[in-house]
């Protein structure tokens, strides 16, 4: 079967190629296609019946004709060759070099789809990662093996934030840094260059494996790219015992490519035209983050998801939020005030924070301080809203303190430089300076011991 080449496709449209009378083709099989100019394309079987085989062509079906297209079924799934040499290299979505260097040669090859991890084999992630960013470390801590996306929007500084996380992330009391698997789907040329230069300037390029599909590369390739990249990440983490940070940017372009193919196939559309399986499809990707018993390495994942029209209820951020272990949401409003990083605190969340902070991990008061800051800031935002209606002067004294708290929280806690690397203790100390703007009676989320120890209330300075 592998050797046989088929000609005369029955139809070719919107990225799909249809062949008739090719029996026994495997579902998911990798396909090699030669067009009439002798150029090679890659495909994958997405439906196989006795009568009809449907092939999804990663490079699209533009410029294909029916009579002069030659198709070979390779009788194998998409696989990635694995070796330590992956680091420091740049590949396309199916793992072919993009950096004019030779392909990776290895006998170890794995199916890029992976196999689902047995939940029993997982180890619960609980090791605190210090990113040096207060909005994350203090309020939405990241732990090793977590999947924590950044919900952003066009023009917001998610790239700068991701680069800062990559640069600064480390485990407290450990020297070893992360190796990075960088997976770009639909990235602009300028953004790709930004990351490359940032890695280069920090001397980490040799510790990064890049899988790149740019904005003008074929969109269907984006469907396989994160799977290829994660196959590399799993190898680095679980075969080579490395701690891997996976950046996936931008999952919105991934999902759009999925919708394009789904529409072409005639799948039943659900919200905003996305197919019903978008959730499961994205889960196959996101759930590959984590830790596994008896393996030393880990996969921590930071996907970027841009919210179309800044709408967090759009299916892509929405379903992502339903799968990942929290989210860091960026705010256009804060960004317009030139506040960096413009993290929108109320909707941001880290679900794994609870097991990674506190007494033995960061500081004993951390869980309660985080909860108190959230509660106080939520109250302060309500007051700010009210003040905009009835005026600041009409507010009771306590409410005016809350207003002050909100401003200071944003200016001193949230705001920091793109190169400013704060220790988590510094972050917690700033938190207490802010809580000291409010009287102890309203701080019911912290304990009385905390108040005695850290609260520096002078009755309104």
């Amino acid at each position: 079967m592998k050797e046989k080449e088929y000609r005369y496709a029955a139809a070719a449209r919107t990225g799909l190629l249809f062949l008739k009378g090719v029996p026994g083709v495997a579902f998911g099989d990798r396909v090699s296609i030669r067009d009439r100019h002798g150029r090679k394309r890659n495909g994958q079987v997405i439906l196989s019946s006795e009568e009809l085989v449907m092939v999804q062509v990663l490079e699209g079906t533009d410029d294909l004709n029916l009579d002069d297209t030659w198709v070979r079924f390779l009788d194998q799934p998409f696989e990635l060759a694995l070796s330590p040499d992956l680091l420091g290299r740049v590949f396309n979505g199916i793992g072919e070099p993009r950096d004019e260097r030779p392909p990776i040669i290895s006998r170890l090859r794995r199916n890029v789809n992976g196999e689902p991890v047995n939940p029993v084999a997982r180890a619960y992630p609980r090791e605190f990662i210090q990113t040096g960013i207060s909005a994350i470390d203090g309020l939405n801590s990241l732990v090793r093996g977590q999947k924590l996306p950044i919900f952003s929007g066009s023009g917001l500084p998610h790239n700068r934030l991701v680069a800062q996380i990559v640069r600064q992330s480390r485990l407290l009391g450990e020297e070893s840094r992360f190796v990075v698997v960088f997976a770009a789907m639909g990235l602009s040329y300028a953004d790709a260059r930004f990351f490359r230069e940032d890695f280069e300037n920090n001397g980490v390029l040799g510790n990064v494996a890049m899988f790149i599909n740019l904005a003008d590369d074929p969109p269907i390739e984006r469907l396989i790219l994160p799977r290829t990249a994660l196959t590399a990440a799993e190898y680095l983490a679980f075969d080579l015992d490395l701690h891997v940070l996976v950046v996936l940017t931008d999952m919105t372009y991934y999902a759009e490519a999925l919708r394009e193919v789904a529409t072409a196939k005639g799948d039943v559309p659900t919200r905003k035209g996305y197919p019903g399986y978008l959730y499961s499809d994205m889960a196959e990707i996101y759930e590959r983050a984590g830790r596994v018993h008896k393996r030393h390495g880990s996969i921590t994942m930071v996907p970027v998801v841009s919210m179309p029209s800044d709408d967090i209820t759009h299916p892509i951020p929405d379903l992502t939020g339903y799968i990942t272990e929290g989210q860091i949401v960026l705010s256009r409003e804060l960004n317009n005030q030139n506040l960096y990083p413009p993290v929108n605190i109320p909707p941001s969340l880290s679900r794994l924070m609870k097991d990674g902070i506190g007494k033995d991990d960061t500081r004993e008061d951390h869980p309660r301080v985080a909860s108190q800051l959230y509660a106080a800031y939520a109250r302060a935002l309500e007051v700010r809203n009210l003040a905009s209606i009835i005026g600041r002067d009409e507010l009771p004294d306590l409410d005016r303190r809350y207003l002050d708290f909100a401003d200071q929280f944003e200016q001193r806690f949230l705001a920091q430089g793109p190169d400013e690397d704060r220790s988590v203790i510094q972050t917690l100390n700033i938190a207490w300076e802010l809580l000291s703007l409010l009287p102890g009676e309203v701080l019911s989320r912290v304990s009385e011991t905390d108040l005695a120890r850290y609260h520096d209330w002078e009755g309104g300075k």
Binding site: P77, P116, V120, A123, P275, Y277, Y322, E325
Partner: protein, 592 residues
């Protein structure tokens, strides 16, 4: 039944030529021996859903019918276990195959080699007539749970022999019975039941006792009965999973079945790692001894997700039939509905709303219908309580799954994004939630805890609703526009929110709140509100009330005093009364 050949592979949906096959029948599919189920017939073509990835499966490969529908294995050894959606034992799979789940690996759900101590039912004699549901004997499955070995439903005849006390494996014969239709049949500790078919019972009863969860907003404000059906809808991150895990930890049921349906792997690990270390507040034993997990995480094949819900409820009914109170938690029923939608779509069935097939509502109703308190065939009483999380897209409760679920269930715990954003947990909204079980629960609370329960509860909800109204006014014109009595309502409501409704799962003291403590806190808050209101009518300013030391203590009472410190709460009530009386005196005297 003869084997057939695959004609088409379309993701998890396979077609094969299999004339004469029946809907629902199980199959081995392809060279790898994947497991599948017939879900439709079209002439000679069988439409098959496959529970495992069909990658590299091809037309022409063989399909072998197994002659039975998807069935659960029932017997000792289920508790403490973790199974996938079609009951493959995940621990045994890890031992034999490592950290990934390979395809085509068929392992029996229950350990065939393990011996169990069986004690026959003393009253049974050879020659006696026995029928389905009767207790043949007992096995102490875990220290906490006695497993009753029942005559399988449908069997009726003369008991010829019952084994003596001793150690038996699951497949050894422990009894023989002569039935009129099928002759002599051997019974063992192991039986099977088709998961899509509800297990029979003698009679259905109304619920009479609340399912206690130790969560104030649930038990005190929106109770659910043992044998009831409840739903927890909420947007992502609102706390559905945490709330279900809290229920799994603290509920007063005998058995807990937790179904992770299309959700995160780490959440199951969380349970697996923490439950063995936690103690059941009722039996004093490790929580894992009464817990059973069904796990079909979001990265596992979609179709098995659909089956996982039915597997879970069948296991629940099996323990119910032994006379236990069982709770099944499903996280999330939306992922189950999506699996249904996925298969319907591939079958080309007409979508009616948001891509869901027309039968979504009836399937949901049929599933929840399997909840209930019943008289068992064996003359015992048992219950299955079903609690499903719902994950509405965009947090929009008008979407089909939330909407239909709302019509079916009795208790609706609606989670609110704005509460979660302010880290007010559990983020159960007191305006959108409801419970049809308050009357029945009130009888229990009144009898066991206090006759004042129902009145106090109503007062608190009333206060919360009033404060909600008032906050709208504040947002228009500021707090200064309110009368002192109105301001006191706003303050008291905020106290109720903090001191009662908010309850952190992560707080060691407050994670579980006994019904006695729940009522004590409720009573404290409400008597403060009432008496405070009287003072305000007598010109005592709100600010003076807010400065009472007892009020600050009440704010922190939930985590300052444990469940056993009811006397401290009683003292707090006395202190509060004293302080209020003193305040009233001071103002009377000051004025005169």
């Amino acid at each position: 039944m003869k084997s057939g050949r695959i004609i088409e592979v379309n993701g998890p949906l396979v077609q094969a030529r299999l004339p004469g096959i029946a809907n629902g029948e199980q199959l081995r599919v392809g060279e790898l021996g994947l497991t599948g189920e017939v879900i439709g017939l079209d002439g000679e073509r069988a439409l098959i859903q496959v529970y495992e990835s069909t990658e590299m499966l091809r037309p022409g490969e063989e399909v072998v019918p197994l002659g039975h529908p998807l069935s659960a294995e029932l017997g000792p050894g289920l508790l403490g276990g973790i199974f996938d959606g079609v009951q493959r034992p995940l621990r045994a799979i890890m031992e034999s195959a490592g950290e990934h789940i390979p395809r085509g690996l068929a392992l029996p759900a229950l350990d065939r080699k393990k011996h169990w101590d069986f004690i026959p039912e003393a009253s049974l004699r050879a020659g006696q007539e026995i029928r389905g549901g009767m207790v043949l004997g007992r096995v102490q499955e875990t220290e906490a749970v006695e497993h009753r070995i029942l005559v399988p439903p449908g069997i009726k005849g003369e008991l010829m022999e019952l084994a003596g006390a001793g150690r038996y494996t699951l497949e050894q014969t422990i009894a023989r019975v002569r039935t009129p239709l099928k002759g002599i049949q051997g019974l063992s500790l192991l039986q099977r039941w088709p998961v899509r078919q509800p297990r029979p019972y003698a009679r259905r009863d109304d619920g009479i006792a609340p399912l206690l969860t130790g969560q104030r907003i649930l038990d005190t404000f929106f109770p659910l009965l043992k044998g009831g059906k409840g739903a927890i809808p909420g947007p992502f991150g609102a706390g559905k999973t945490m709330l279900q895990q809290q229920i799994a930890r603290w509920t007063n049921a005998d058995i807990v079945i937790y179904v992770g349906c299309g959700e995160r792997g780490n959440e199951l690990v969380d349970i697996l790692e923490s439950f063995p270390e936690l103690t059941d507040p009722y039996s004093g034993r490790s929580l894992m001894e009464r817990t059973l997990l069904v796990a079909n995480t979001s990265n596992m094949p979609v179709v098995a997700r659909e089956a996982s819900i039915y597997l879970g409820v069948t296991l629940a009914e099996y323990y119910r039939d032994q006379g236990h109170d069982v709770v099944m938690l499903a996280d999330s029923t939306s992922r189950w509905a999506e699996a249904l939608r996925e298969v319907a779509g591939r079958l080309g069935q007409m979508p009616v709303e948001e891509g869901y097939p027309a039968y979504l509502a009836s399937r949901l109703a049929a599933f929840y219908e399997r909840a209930g308190r019943v008289d068992t065939l064996g003359g015992d009483s048992g219950s299955v309580t079903l609690i499903g999380a719902v994950s509405p897209p965009g947090g929009d409760f008008s979407e089909p799954v939330t909407n239909h679920t709302k019509d079916i269930i009795q208790t609706f715990w609606a989670l609110s994004k704005s509460l979660a954003d302010a880290r007010h947990y559990p983020s159960v909204s007191w305006t959108e939630s409801f419970s049809d079980a308050v009357e029945a629960a009130a009888r229990w609370w009144s009898r066991e805890i206090s006759p004042a329960w129902q009145a106090r509860r109503a007062q608190a909800l009333d206060l919360l609703a009033r404060a909600e109204e008032l906050s709208r006014i504040i947002n228009l014109v500021g707090v200064e526009a309110l009368s002192p009595a109105q301001r006191w309502s706003v303050e008291a409501a905020s106290l109720v929110r903090e001191a009662l409704l908010q309850q952190s799962a992560l707080d060691e003291v407050d994670s579980y709140c006994s019904p006695q403590k729940q009522f004590a806190l409720l009573d404290l808050a409400m008597s403060l509100y009432q008496r405070g209101g009287e003072l305000i009518d007598n010109q005592v300013p709100v600010s003076a009330l807010l400065q009472l030391p007892a009020l600050a203590r009440l704010r922190r009472a939930k985590n300052s005093y444990g469940n056993e410190q009811l006397d401290a709460l009683a003292r707090l009530k006395e202190d509060m009364q004293d302080q209020l009386d003193k305040l009233a005196r001071d103002y009377r005297e000051g004025r005169s």
